[in-house]
Symmetry: D2
Subunit: 312 residues, 4 copies
């Protein structure tokens, strides 16, 4: 389906449920997509960091994307992550995602290598040239160890290379300046700025962001849909209250013991444990070599779900 221009709204980055043996659990994934659609989300982002894209083989990525495309059934656009180290490898993922029915693509800057702004810009231009689909840049310095600065992004927005940006940098100051620049250049009607920071969505929308890609939206899509609606209606106090509730719930991402596991294991494990407790997926397994949450951590997740009103 054709993407709205600019893309707006709540577009959760779907978790990829796995079976106990590490396969993509397509039944649970379709159910998760359905659950999000029922909550009123405006798009679905598959194969992002929350989707464990870094852990999935190419075949698993394809399975996950095709499952969601089918589940979405054209009701909302499906964005596909095409995450890999550098351009040629990313372009292969792009071609695969097109074949699987994605509506738009989401790529990071090059990583593993020591890169440069000129190379990052060229990287996005080459990806865009290789495909017809709208392309979003994914700013995630925690993973790729470089920042997509306004100096990189604005020319790519102006020349149509990029249809938008998913900002998971956590740098809300830079986001504010980018939004100001985007509007000043008259690009806000065709370049979509989406925040990936679950904890500052009210502020980002107040600052003019077009939408949000919240990992926590897997767990509480209704919360983010309400927050977005409050913001669009100018009910900022209500938006902030909803954000506060979601900020408290976000503690499930560090329910795991940081001395025993990595940040990704804890964060993704928390999302999946919550989804299993909510009955949204069958199994909370994360991909190897992530450390699973222990029972105590899962107990903390349950308590947070109760406090957030998601479990009785």
């Amino acid at each position: 389906m054709r993407l709205a221009v600019p893309l707006t709204g709540v577009i959760p980055p779907l978790c990829t449920p796995l079976t106990r043996t590490g396969d993509v659990d397509t039944r649970s994934l379709a159910a998760l997509a359905g659950r999000l659609l029922d909550a009123g989300v405006h798009g679905l982002f598959v194969l992002g960091s929350s989707g464990e894209a870094a852990y999935l083989t190419d075949a698993q990525r394809r399975t996950a994307l095709e499952t969601v495309v089918e589940a979405a059934a054209g009701r909302v656009p499906v964005l596909a992550g095409i995450i890999d180290m550098t351009t040629a490898r990313v372009c292969e993922h792009a071609a695969s995602a097109v074949a699987s029915g994605a509506d738009a693509l989401v790529a990071t800057a090059p990583f593993y290598t020591r890169t440069h702004p000129a190379e990052i810009a060229d990287h996005f231009r080459r990806i865009r040239t290789s495909t017809q689909l709208p392309l979003f840049a994914y700013d995630i310095p925690l993973a790729v160890h470089s920042k997509l600065t306004a100096d990189i992004v604005l020319p790519l927005a102006a020349d149509g290379t990029l249809a938008g940006l998913k900002d998971s940098s956590g740098d809300e100051g830079a986001l504010r300046r980018l939004l100001t620049d985007v509007r000043r250049r008259g690009l806000d009607a065709r370049f979509s700025v989406l925040t990936g920071s679950e904890l500052t969505v009210d502020g980002a929308l107040l600052a003019g962001a077009h939408g949000v890609v919240p990992g926590l939206g897997n767990v509480d899509p209704h919360g983010y849909v309400r927050l977005y609606a409050h913001a669009r209606a100018g009910r900022w106090a209500e938006a902030a209250a909803e954000q506060d509730r979601l900020a408290a719930l976000f503690a499930l991402t560090d329910a795991g013991d940081p001395t025993l596991m990595g940040g990704s294991s804890a964060g993704l494990g928390g999302f999946k444990a919550a989804l299993r407790l909510l009955g949204a997926i069958d199994c909370q397994a994360t991909a190897a070599p992530q450390v699973p949450l222990d029972d105590e951590a899962v107990g903390r997740v349950r308590k947070l779900l109760e406090e957030a009103g998601l479990l009785p």
Copy 2:
């Protein structure tokens, strides 16, 4: 004077004007303090990073603080930075600041050394024990290379070690979680959370921050006072518009060429060039070994002041 509990409002971190020969320009500093007071700020923070505390000798620090204490004349509280590497050195600055008439103290985590959360907490406890003045923690990872996490701050807030936090971490997500936790524990009536991030003040106030310590407030104090008033009155759209204007103005902090100078030179040089262009201080010199802005950069600062409506 006794600090309001909790401390709220706009509390600019004063620049320290210097003469051409590198001395503290007390006339300009007093004038700057007066200009901020006339604009309606709620406190003055001397000897922070914006005040070039890292560049001033102990005697210069004393001169700067005493100048501002005298200029404030008890109309608003004066907070004094006591920035040094570790506890014993910081405690000496604390004693000096008390003698100079400060109303409250602002200290960072230890730096230069490789520290630990337990040591950071002990550091603040020892500083607090050494003085009667209210103590604020200054979270500035860009300078000290560690983050004041909620795990460190909340116990210090609960036991009365800290009267507040100046958050210059730029980590708005962590700030949101901290604010949520502060309220949940009933500490928000006595623990003041102030954002030092000039670009996201609307969002921080929406999230419940008590106030703002904006370096850019040296240049445009009226803007931040208006922004704060809008926020307190629930006029969020107006607050965001004011913040947008200030975000555009903030570009003066990178008017300097980053291939020729450090980030501190560019930022502080931008503030001081603006203040000189506005007639608020006599000389735009920054302390050695900072590289001064060249004429081209000063031209860019002038243009930004014009665009912001601060120069005709």
Copy 3:
């Protein structure tokens, strides 16, 4: 072929020559392998960082590996990099490398994700379980942003998961402690510690390293073979003199202008420009989106080759 245990000697990480259109130049690659073999190297490492593994598609990786396996023709062992983000993806590269005829595998810690020592250890154990080939750990924090500490490596050496370590961390202090521990535990007869730091090979061999994997060895294999022979014969002054000459030559990795290109572009571009000037490969192109060296930079490379006695 069966690897010597422990693996010792000079094992250059081959560059992957490309054609002007970005394909693997198999003729040049075979010629490069032949050139290194003629110089007396003790092994060949394909698809490392110097081989632009991060830039090559899976098909290109296969082509490169098969070309070198064929060129080596069993005279020396061929080690294959299996670089990817996490375990399942790495295991697929491992299977492919086995099918292509590699004699041993070289894998990094997980990257892109935020990982943990326990996860890194599990990662290597799972890779080892998935294949029969000897497995080397590749410590390259500049690329993967975590360090393979002795606490991770020693148990994996002791239990036979790892046949060795390629240390490109640049942390010579940690290397010394690791070598000391390896010997104390009696593991040095079966666990091979190879330094990837071209500039400190004499010191590393003096400290007991088993061999070296020098990117610069593409350009001057004779130099590293001589250096290794001097060290093994206890001619340390001669080893140091050879290392000094190679250290001066290493400047070709920053012939490129760092304001115009990334560190990888400059380093790999320098190697390839030198190889082309030496007639060892046909074309100096690096993979997109790397910025090519300009003529001035290539001139600097030529001068360095002359100073090192490699060009008249």
Copy 4:
């Protein structure tokens, strides 16, 4: 006393013994200096990172320096650290150190601020101008978060600003290139390159370093004096064996539990615990807010001293 040009040999960075109440223990400090002199060291470095300079007040720094100057009694030169954030503050320490009788000064790059190579160079030039004493640059990125690159250091060596460099960067590759460049420019007869990396002294001396500033030399000065003598005599195998023994002993710097304390606490605590166990100082206290080693950690230190042959 006049410094040898270039300065060579073993120049330990003295620990600063403290009393139980946190004062400088001048008796123990003088005894420690005497112990090092008796072991044949070639200079004494006071108020470096190992000397807890970051933790000492200005008065304590003065006391420590004067104590060592008196103990040295002109037998070897005394170098004094003048560690502070930026130029003006460092120049005040320089004047104080001159008054206390230092023979040379050791300064880091600016820290706390975000600096630039041009500013760092200007910083050293201004310090040198402010004093008559020879000036050494102290490269310690772990503390100051920038690296003294060859591009910064070589011009300062050439124009006489710097008499030498203490390299505690741990970047042995950069050190090798610097040494090569220093010799090529004919500066090695007047510019002294000293490694501060205790674990790679044999390799550094093989590469041409003039001497070593080993924190561990507080504990085992005889070991470093022997290592240096072996190296100067070309007995590289013996040098390496001595270095191996010292590398094993260095484990006392991480006897402390890293989950309970910072790296500085563990490292300095290990040195001081060893010195107390050896009877070299009276009390193992480190300055606040460092966490002291617990009994278990001290037991590990004792065991390492026994294994190194320093305790029966």
